[in-house]
């Protein structure tokens, strides 16, 4: 019935142990953080209360996790069934991205033990953007696991349950499209709240749509990125024609994004800041050139069938979206008062982030080898 199957093979390979080691280091850092507090491992301060644990682990992590959202949008909203083979692995990427991002938030919360108050209506502030993000992300993590549930049910032969779930799954799928639309744009809204502390190169009322579209873009980029790595690393068949098509979608969305981004800069009269000689301007161009690279590489229809070009474009888009988030929240963010603030992630912060992404790789390896995730041609 299913065209998905576990790929099997040896689980405990050398790459697996390598990523496991990185994950163990991260666990040690986490232990230190929870025993001695945030200050013992991070370079966070009152000027920069958000470091890479929020910006990379959560914001970029969930943007990577938008693969599930981006493909579901294509398949279910635009009714493009031909992309269906990509749904399951994309959903899994989303599930990992969001679940780990949700955990990563806990690492960064100063008083994490009060997290439960978020669920208590009497405690919450209903006008808060962060509340919306928190509720939305929590709900979406649950939704993703339910969306992914058929994979488990197939693996363990629970056909009856699988069929029952199919009947209500459309509600979950609808939620799975609604929720990321809400919170991915809200992740941009949080920067709007920071006001003039963020450079005019990034501060705009259009941050919510720009964050949403760039998250979608990263989702569309992650699909070929993951598919190509899987085909090489795990010796899987490559669905080049599908990847060519989805690269076309990514190309169109990228062009739309760039038009919106630069029209906004021009309309606000902020483009001049891009020609100053400072780190802000440099990073602005790094970010936007990375968005432009795929447009150049994928412009020709024939180049969209070249896996190397697809891969470079995907990496470029993922980097571009990531740097856009880092720029908005760290590079372009200048704490307003109270001193000359500095922030660069500490070794421990970097290693924890590396550890979290390593954990995603470990989970990926376990899941694709033991569960029917990848599509069989």
């Amino acid at each position: 019935m299913s065209t998905h199957a576990p790929i099997g093979g040896k689980l405990f390979t050398r790459p697996f142990y390598f990523f496991l080691l990185l994950f163990m280091i991260a666990l040690a850092i986490l232990a230190t953080r929870f025993i001695f507090g945030l200050g013992s491992v991070t370079n966070l301060n009152d000027g920069y209360p958000w470091g890479i644990w929020i910006v990379i682990d959560v914001m970029i992590g969930t943007a990577f996790g938008c693969a599930g959202y981006a493909v579901a949008l294509l398949v279910y909203l635009f009714n493009r069934g031909e992309y269906h083979p990509l749904v399951r692995s994309a959903l899994m990427a989303g599930m990992f991205g969001y679940t780990l991002a949700g955990m990563a938030v806990m690492f960064d919360l100063g008083r994490y033990w009060q997290f439960y108050t978020l669920m208590m209506p009497g405690y919450v502030q209903y006008n808060s953007v962060m509340l919306e993000v928190a509720w939305c992300v929590m709900a979406y993590i649950v939704v993703l696991w339910i969306e992914f549930l058929p994979t488990f049910l197939e693996r363990f032969g629970l056909k009856n349950l699988r069929q029952k779930l199919s009947k209500v799954l459309f509600i979950i799928i609808a939620l799975g499209i609604l929720l990321p639309t809400m919170h991915q744009s809200s992740l941009g809204t949080m920067a709007v709240v920071a006001g003039h502390q963020i450079s005019p190169l990034w501060q705009t009322q259009l941050l919510p749509p720009l964050f949403l579209i760039s998250a979608l873009l990263m989702g569309y980029a992650l699909v070929p990125f993951e598919a190509i790595l899987a085909s090489m690393g795990l010796r899987q068949p490559m669905e080049t024609s599908l990847l060519a098509k989805i690269s076309g979608v990514a190309l169109a969305v990228t062009i739309f994004y760039l038009v919106l981004r630069f029209a906004d800069l021009l309309w606000r009269g902020a483009l001049g800041f891009a020609f100053e000689s400072n780190l802000d301007a440099l990073m602005f161009w790094v970010e936007n050139l990375l968005f432009i690279v795929p447009v150049v590489l994928l412009a020709q229809r024939s180049s969209r069938t070249n896996p190397a070009l697809i891969f470079i474009s995907a990496v470029s888009l993922l980097l571009a979206g990531s740097i856009y988030r880092i720029n908005t929240y760290i590079i372009g963010y200048h704490p307003a008062a109270g001193g000359t603030w500095h922030y660069f992630p500490s070794v421990a912060e970097i290693m924890l982030t590396v550890g979290i992404f390593s954990f995603e790789v470990i989970l990926y390896l376990i899941f694709v080898k033991t569960l029917p995730v990848l599509h069989r041609a």
Partner: protein, 387 residues
């Protein structure tokens, strides 16, 4: 309705009647405020209260020479006490060109009468400079040079207060070629003690406090070498200026409207005379409207209006003489650097991660390119990569 003053009304409990509607509480607040302005202990407010409610209000003769009435105008805008509280309740203002009820011969006659009756008891206040050139003909009141009026009134005065820079040391009429020979009161009445309250206009509270001090203790407040009350004029403006930390840190506005000016940096290089002007402007401010309500607070360099040889003499653009502290050649940051920047270990870690990712990416791209070269014929078809 006439208020008859009985013996009992002079007692502090009788203030309501004496003060014509001012509540006892308000009145004591005002007196405590006055005591605080001079730096007296709070208990002294009773003594000031007794003086301010004394039915034997001391007469005051106010002479106006070459002046603009700015000093009177600023007094009119004081709120604690108000000028009417002062002249109706605390003193008996027997002669004032602007505020007298009478005019012309009537006013002059009243002045003469008061001076004779209260000889040796009245307070003489002078605003405006006194022209001495050509027999003082450049400023005449009632057909007599103001110089004559001054000499006459000074004879029987118990205390003489020169209010404003003009009366204190000549002020604006004495600057430039000084065609009228404008001179301060103290220079004319060399054998008398003159209290100078310079400023253009001076802060009304420096004047009111001096008057109430005289009423309360029957003597003048402590004066400096230039005859100025020490409670108001013993510190340079520079010493109490809210922008002083910027001076010490070497952060100066260079032109009006530049970044430093907009950020509230020190105005010394715009010609601020705060470092050579003695006054309490930054401490008590003007107009009772809250913080920042004084020239430097609004972004304008101090003009030095109260200081002889500075105000109306030096150009606005000229740098002040630094009487006390020179700006140092090196400066300590006001705002310390906070937070940890790039450390070698963190940079190495970040570069290692980036390098590993780039390396892996490079390998992938390289292999894809090789494969692509081998399989150009069926790119558009889904296909198995060969192992």
């Amino acid at each position: 309705m006439a208020i008859s003053i009985k013996e009992s009304d002079t007692h502090l409990d009788g203030f309501v009647g004496t003060l014509g509607g001012v509540s006892r509480r308000e009145f004591m607040k005002f007196c405590t405020g006055v005591a605080a302005t001079i730096g007296l202990p709070a208990g002294m407010s009773w003594q000031i209260a007794a003086a301010a409610s004394n039915p034997q209000r001391p007469p005051v003769i106010w002479l106006s020479a070459q002046e603009c009435t700015g000093c009177t105008e600023s007094l009119l805008r004081s709120t604690h006490p108000t000028l009417e509280q002062l002249i109706l309740d605390a003193i008996s203002l027997d002669y004032h060109e602007t505020l007298s009820a009478g005019a012309g011969h009537q006013a002059e006659a009243h002045k003469q009468q008061s001076m004779q009756q209260n000889k040796g008891k009245y307070v003489l206040v002078v605003d405006g400079s006194i022209p001495v050139k050509d027999g003082g003909i450049y400023c005449k009141v009632a057909d007599r040079p103001i110089l004559d009026h001054l000499l006459e009134a000074a004879e029987g005065a118990a205390a003489i207060i020169a209010i404003g820079s003009c009366a204190s040391w000549g002020g604006i009429p004495s600057s430039g070629p000084n065609p009228t020979g404008a001179t301060g009161v103290a220079e004319i009445l060399k054998d008398k003690t003159i209290v100078n309250i310079p400023g253009c206009p001076p802060n009304p509270y420096n004047f009111l406090t001096t008057v109430l001090h005289f009423l309360a203790f029957n003597r003048l407040p402590e004066l400096d070498a230039k005859g100025r009350p020490k409670f108001a004029y013993n510190r340079l403006i520079h010493e109490n200026c809210e922008r002083r930390p910027h001076f010490d840190a070497g952060r100066f506005a260079i032109t009006f409207g530049d970044e430093g000016h907009r950020k509230g940096w020190c105005l010394y290089k715009l010609g601020c005379k705060g470092p050579e002007t003695y006054a309490n402007c930054p401490a008590i401010l003007f107009g009772d409207v809250g913080p920042g309500a004084w020239p430097v607070g609004t972004g304008h360099p101090c003009f030095g209006c109260s200081e002889q040889g500075v105000g109306f003499t030096k150009g606005v653009h000229q740098l002040a003489e630094l009487e006390t502290i020179k700006p140092s050649a090196t400066h300590v940051d006001i705002a310390e650097d906070i937070g940890v920047g790039v450390t070698p270990a963190a940079a190495a870690t970040a570069l290692a991660v980036a390098g590993a990712a780039a390396g892996a990416g490079g390998v992938v791209v390289n292999r894809l390119m090789q494969n692509n070269g081998n399989e150009t014929d069926n790119d558009l078809e889904p296909h198995d990569r060969e192992g």
